[in-house]
Symmetry: C2
């Protein structure tokens, strides 16, 4: 596959790591989070303009991936390969000590975001679906495999509405509090709707929080989805 690395290619990777500011940014992202440019600038201890230049280089070097969302630009490691490199060089790593946005606990746990599920629950669901191969990232966005739909039905979602999910397009959406991906787009909206219909979740009387029912939490557990803590 990848032919033996040339000295030039190895040097290019080295050069990207060679600046403390860039190294700090990469280490801040090693836990798989996606973070906006300003936050990475603070983590690296440099000005915004300097950070922007570094991020551009890391992006063009293929070490980072960019996701534009409103006026934020979220950066994350480009792939598992990159994460593996960094972990080989910097093995022991405590999970990110920074949950910067202060928010209501219920809101952090689960909320709606453009009518789809976000927060810890949404992030955990997305990660679990990806992990089991039920969800795939294509050039066209996120796609749910039929096997994934079957698993959802087995966990208790309505069969008829769930059957339509594999035809819908999902959009990876960076979570405001968790800095990780969850499922948005038409797929995310429909999936969340099915969960509301099944009574796994209900809207809080006011605000954007979504309240999982005890039964809902059990159903999520069947899918391997657990809330932290």
């Amino acid at each position: 596959m990848a032919t033996s690395l040339t000295p030039h290619q190895l040097a290019e990777i080295g050069a990207l790591l060679a600046e403390p500011a860039r190294a700090a940014m990469l280490l801040a992202l090693i836990d798989g989070t996606a973070r906006p440019a300003g936050e990475l600038a603070r983590a690296a201890g440099v000005g915004a303009s300097t950070a922007s230049a570094h991020l551009k280089r890391l992006l063009e070097g293929g070490l980072l991936a960019l996701q534009v969302q409103g006026r934020h630009r979220y950066y994350r490691l480009a792939g598992d390969e990159v994460a593996a490199w960094l972990e080989a060089l910097a093995p022991p790593r405590k999970p990110a000590a920074v949950p910067p946005p202060t928010a209501d606990a219920a809101l952090r746990r689960a909320r709606s975001c453009y009518r789809h599920l976000a927060g810890q629950l949404g992030v955990a669901l997305c990660a679990q679906l990806l992990d089991r191969g039920h969800l795939a990232t294509t050039s066209d966005g996120l796609v749910l495999h039929p096997a994934g739909a079957e698993a959802l039905v087995a966990a208790g979602l309505d069969a008829a509405s769930t059957a339509r999910l594999p035809g819908l397009r999902g959009r990876g959406c960076v979570d405001w509090t968790e800095r990780r991906l969850h499922v948005g787009g038409p797929l995310g909206v429909a999936l969340t709707g099915a969960m509301l219909d099944a009574g796994w979740l209900r809207h809080a009387p006011q605000g954007r929080a979504l309240l999982p029912s005890a039964e809902g939490l059990r159903r999520f557990g069947l899918l391997g989805v657990r809330l932290p803590g």
Copy 2:
């Protein structure tokens, strides 16, 4: 143990990799060989003075180790950790395509070097003893464990003379043809002497070649030592 790597430390490693000339040198050493400065300069495509400066930086950065031998200065990777880093970044690597010194086949296979065994056989023996934990590298040089002496006796060496080996100091000696370590110093001399006495090896009528007997090759095989090819 090693506390989580700081951005500065990661950047330092990156900076050492960041120059194509240094990267080429490291890649040339990834197979575990030790090579003189001039050869590395040619491999990197730079002048001798430039190469010297690069090697100095790699040495001070802890990525390389130096072994002075006569008018040659042999550089090799500082440890398994460094090799692991490089392999993580540059996975597929063909074994070094360069056996530069042209020499008689018998001489390459086994010869005496300051009265100890060198050549492919000496290198293979040293590697095997290290691999099995029979030989240890201490700050004082190479030391044979009693268990190693027992293994040698089991393979057929004289018990009385072998028993004295763990008290002798060995010196790592870079092989002229193989560019790898073999056992020199008093330990190497005594070990080779025991093998000559046991008839595993005999001196060629002229020249420095050592000729292993058929029985000797079988005995080496008992120790896990095989010749390539």
